[in-house]
Amino acid sequence: MSAVPIWLIVLVKAVIVLFVVITTFAYSMLAERKVMGWMQLRPGPNRVGPWGLLQPAADAVKMMFKEDLTPETADPLIYRLAPFISLITAMGTFAIIPFSANADGTLWSVGNVNAGILLIFCMTSIGVYGISLAGWASGSKFPLLGSVRSTAQMISYELAMSMSVIGVLILAGSTALGDIVNAQYRVWFILPQIVGFVIYIITAVAETNRAPFDLVEAETELVGGFHTEYSGLRFGLFFIAEYLNMITVSCLATLLFLGGWNGPFGLPSFGLLGLLWFVLKAGFFLFFYIWLRSTLPRFRYDRLMAFGWKVLLPVSTLNLILTAVAVALWPTHA
């Protein structure tokens, strides 16, 4: 290994992860349309390729050849910059997510960062700028409303989300994602942290602006929300970012609460088997997203804010305090 320079290893890893993640994006989009179709008793996309499998490629070609419009009232610089902020932060998180581990504990991730989970929160908190600047820079009223909603929603729900995750960090005694997964070798944290898990799932849906929390782009009220004015590839970038964020929070839910690449009941699992477990668990969360979208109606805006501040935040704070007390009374590790 010493002959290969470290930057080359990281580069190869990054290219592989990006390729896999973009493919996952393409097919989770197709899966969403298929599954939603079945849930609504219709076949879903089935014209392009066998069983509609080439639909993502067709969509990509359509996106690329559409005209890229910029409204006259828009702020040209920020209008062009915003989609890139969204996409770069969405992709950046995958640099530190470990997908599996070798038997000797080497993680299957591009980089192993000590403050792993905190760095992911960093990325998502910068990702908000993409949406809020896009709405502002479009220079028309529906995007502005969408962006103001998005900012308020993100700030409110990010707080409860961090609170619910800190419970896991206390139990694991580390912020590195690898350590968190290893700490769940016997018991997945979904059992001791069931309250935190429920809060995490709710806030994760809100953070990624998905139904029933998709007030940011609510078609029936705001036309398209923050991306009303965007078209062509720039809209495509927002679209990719939204799905990548979905994949990120699904992976995080897997790592934080479902034991990552660990098998159930403490079964030893690493390498490709670990990867299989990881993909199964994360895939379940992706399905859960689609399921929610085709089941629940959209929240009303004032109820959304009231729910975030008056229910989620107090409950997650209480959960955090109880966890801290429990760990202080019965220290299980070190």
Binding site: L77, I78, N114, A115, L119, I126, Y129, T151, I155
Partner: protein, 195 residues
């Protein structure tokens, strides 16, 4: 060292951009770039936790509120529309103060014994490195417990003060009942509960 110079140049450039930009939103973006560069500086000094917190708290929470307010209130107003430009009169005193501060900082830095200056070595993957999460937590809750608690208390007082000043008068004092304006948020909530 190369990273330091790149970050330093970027930081100064973004700071100049922040104060010189015509549109408030451009200033916010300049400040955002500045904060990210500052986080990079912290990373270079091995203060990993501080770097992350710098981005989560300042860029992610505080600065986004700036965008929120600017988008809502003053998207079209340029700074020079607000009042007369008084910049020339304070340029000379400001420059003198800045120069003196710079000299003071440099003098202090030069007088610091070389043994006290930590040479950053190793990578951020080291869990026991200076500035790691664990290290930071120990320092915060043992040596610096009192300042930490006092800061938390002051912040709490500030929050309560804001709620008192900005909040509903009726709810706080119980007196001074004002006629309720239509479309007020509170009335919507009460309607919902009643139904």
């Amino acid at each position: 060292m190369i990273a330091f110079w790149i970050l330093a140049v970027l930081m100064i450039a973004s700071a100049v951009f922040t104060v010189s930009a015509r549109k408030p939103v451009y200033s916010v973006i300049g400040l955002l770039a500045n904060f990210v560069c500052l986080a990079g500086m912290y990373l270079e000094l091995q203060a990993e936790f501080l770097a992350v917190i710098q981005i989560v708290v300042y860029s992610g929470a505080i600065l986004i509120l700036f965008v929120f307010v600017i988008a809502l209130l003053s998207s079209g107003v340029r700074p020079f529309d607000v009042g007369p430009d008084r910049a020339p009169r304070i340029v000379i005193p400001a420059a003198i103060i800045a120069a003196l501060t710079l000299i003071a900082i440099t003098a202090t830095a030069l007088r610091t014994p070389a043994a006290l200056v930590r040479t950053p070595v190793g990578s951020t993957g080291d869990a026991n490195a200076f500035g790691s999460v664990a290290d930071f937590g120990v320092a915060l809750f043992t040596t610096n417990l009192l300042p930490f608690e006092v800061t938390a208390f002051i912040l709490m007082v500030a929050v309560i003060g804001v709620v008192l000043i900005a909040g509903d008068d009726d709810a706080v004092t119980g007196a001074r009942r004002k006629p309720r304006r239509p479309g007020k948020r509170e009335s919507i909530v009460k309607d919902t509960v009643a139904r």
